[in-house]
């Protein structure tokens, strides 16, 4: 338990990595490996003697994390070209946002990133608050931060389980990891159930604060659960990190070039695993992150194993942050506006566009909102654009896949942690 406090956070300072600066960002030299594969390559240009096979992986496939469809051109088992097809889970959330009022949007966006729903609520409500310039009380900001960190832990736990499935299959060792991470996630869902009454789609954030206050005894329970989880994180390290086969499957597989990643707009753990030290929680503090110190774990190898290390370190860091914040939740109101559920309760008086972003478990989750200038439509946004990190992460696939074995493609795809609900919206 005490190891939690002293768990080393790798910042890549002292492991003999050569650094260079690209566009004002420090990146490891070894990972920059242009020329990158051409995603628009004409397969006619490939070896004409090769016997190529087109394999449509998905949208119904056990390892495409939902309904992603990847068209692979295979030479034997080696991928030559990869084209991801998105849109099988498109529900028109952004269009719905133009029809619903600011109050009604929150439960809709819950369904975007269904692994960490509260992050969506936080992101979109922060944008609305910025648009109408609403204040958020300090207590509410604390609750938001604690919830966000616990959501991050839950999200990474789910990722770890499904990543195990990608490598070991549901029947086998992968299934064992999956079951264990889901047991832990269950504890976190119980916490949220106590807090909001819901286990999954909470609708707890609203413009100017939170809808649900911390119930009596919740802080103690949460602290206990988090402490237990911290110990189990070490169990996972024994079970997964020190597993020979896990290493054989992840080390050196799916190396992400940080420069390419930045050009594609990738953020979050994928970029941090490639050595780029960015984290919006620290760089543009929102909610209560300005009141607490945040260590940002980074790795310098950029492969699937590095992404695993970064996510597990983030999990431990999130447990620490949430535990520390739980000790000092300030008293006060939890919302600056009255918690009315009438659709027209929140009105924007101007048509300015604002952008606000948070660090979701998958990276920068941003929202761009334009208020409606028409007086009768003041309670409805004119445009609401959601910038989802998973969507950008999937742009990497055409660069990661060529030259790799089919098994490696599955692992690389899993390590990107795409959530299709968020990709297609």
């Amino acid at each position: 338990m005490n190891d939690l406090e002293s768990a080393p956070i790798n910042t890549g300072e002292d492991d003999g990595v050569e650094w260079t600066t690209v566009g004002g960002v420090r990146v490891p030299v070894d990972l920059i490996t242009p020329p990158w594969p051409d995603p628009y390559m004409d397969i006619e240009d490939y070896d004409p003697d090769a016997d190529l096979m087109v394999l449509n992986m998905g949208p119904q496939h056990p390892s495409t994390h939902g309904v992603l469809r990847v068209k692979l051109v295979l030479d034997g088992e080696i991928c030559v070209k990869c084209v991801p097809y998105l849109g099988y889970l498109h529900r028109g959330v952004e269009k719905l946002c133009e029809k619903l009022s600011y109050v009604q949007i929150t439960p809709i966006v819950d369904k975007n990133d269904y692994v960490s729903p509260m992050m969506n609520e936080l992101a979109i409500n922060m944008a609305f608050e910025k648009l109408i310039q609403a204040e958020v009380p300090r207590r509410s900001r604390y609750i938001r931060t604690i919830c966000a960190e616990i959501q991050r832990v839950g999200s990474h736990l789910l990722w770890l389980g499904t990543f195990g499935l990608d490598m070991g299959g549901a029947i086998g060792g992968g299934g064992s990891i999956f079951m264990h991470t889901f047991r832990e996630r269950e504890l976190l869902l119980d916490l949220f159930e106590d807090l909001t009454g819901c286990r999954f789609h909470y609708n707890t954030h609203m413009v100017g604060g939170n809808r649900h206050d911390i119930p009596a005894g919740w802080a103690d329970k949460a602290t206990k659960v988090l402490a237990e989880l911290g110990e189990r994180c070490f169990e996972y390290e024994q079970f997964v990190r020190d597993n020979e086969i896990f290493r054989a499957r992840t080390v050196g597989v799916g190396i992400v070039d940080p420069v390419l990643a930045m050009e594609l707009g990738i953020s979050g753990p994928i970029l941090r695993a490639s050595g780029v030290d960015v984290d919006l929680r620290r760089d543009q503090p929102y909610a209560a992150y300005d009141e607490i110190e945040i260590n940002v774990p980074t790795e310098t190898t950029g492969d699937c194993f590095a992404r695993y290390l970064v996510r597990v370190a983030e999990m431990r860091e999130s447990i620490r942050i949430a535990t520390e914040l739980l000790k000092g939740v300030p008293e006060g109101p939890i919302g600056s506006l009255k918690p009315v559920k009438l659709p027209g309760a929140v009105k924007a008086k101007h048509g300015l566009g604002v952008y606000s972003a948070i660090e979701s478990p998958r990276g920068e989750l941003g929202t761009f909102v334009v208020g409606n200038t028409e007086r009768r439509q003041a309670a409805i946004p004119y445009r609401c654009k959601i910038r989802s990190p998973s969507m950008h992460a999937l742009q990497l696939l055409p660069y990661l896949c060529p030259g790799n074995n089919l098994s490696d493609i599955i692992v690389a795809l899993g390590s990107l942690d795409p959530i299709m609900g968020e990709v297609d919206r």
């Binding site: 096979m53 394999l55 496939h61 056990p62 390892s63 088992e77 195990g164 499935l165 990608d166 490598m167 070991g168 299959g169 549901a170 029947i171 086998g172 060792g173 992968g174 299934g175 064992s176 079951m179 264990h180 047991r183 597993n243 086969i245 896990f246 054989a248 499957r249 074995n405 089919l406 098994s407 490696d408 599955i410």
Partner: protein, 325 residues
Amino acid sequence: MTFENPWIHGLVMGLIIGNVSLAITGYSIWFERKFAGRMQNRPGPTVVGPWGLLQPVADVLKLMQKEDITPRSADKALFNLAPPLTVFVALSTLAVVPVAPGWIIADLHIGILFALALGSLMVFPVWMAGWASNNKYALLGGMRSAAQSISYEIPLLLSATVPIILADSFRITDIVEAQLGGNWFAFWPPGPGFAAFGLFFLCSLAESNRIPFDIPEAESELVAGVSTEYTGMKFGLFYLAEYLHTFIISMVAAALFLGGWDGPGDHDGFIWMALKTLTLFVFIFWIRWSYMRYRSDQLMAMCWKFFLPLGLALVMFSALWVHAS
């Protein structure tokens, strides 16, 4: 128990040993599910019968009721022949494995060669299924399976050569009798014997496509590999053959390396053979539910770069050992 007439002997023994093995295999599925459940903090099957004991029966009934689909573009003859052939090949191996003194279907003087030859036949039905399904995942699974089985044949044969050299016989009964009195080949000669045992065990796992070598199935990559297009009882036969094969390799490994029916002191008998076989069987489950799978090229590299030289070294060592003693 022996009969004068070899035909009657084979028939009676075959009925007994075959049916007992099938029953054990059926119930091993229930046991594995319970075992996996305990490993994963869940109870496993509990609903059908007391402690879910009737689960295998329910599974078989369910599989029989399923619609039997043959894809229109499949090669029907091969597609339908493959599943029974896997079970046939797996069951045939039982013929030469002694379970107790005198309890053997056919005591061939080249029993071990017969068992290994049938093991290598296993690649045909699997490849047949992969090719005949006319499905890309099945094709990839079949290709992987063929490559894997052919590669792992060689170290398997080499590791099986060690007890052959030590016992100076191809007959499995002779090999077991050479180990009577605690002189098990897994522990004697110390070190190399155990290495040969481990090599045999791992290569058998690879031959029977079990985790961590189950890349032909690889359900996270190839959906279900060779059995993607199979439904109902045809799928059930594949499933049965996989468990049967696992059970038989446990039996062969127990006979070749762990002294077969040799027990402490004078208490030799069937019970020890059963105990050793089931221990190995459970060990395979344990491995299956704690490890992920290797990639196909890593598997090949391991076979050719590590297992093959090790096997050769072990054969040479055992020859020298016999020569010296």
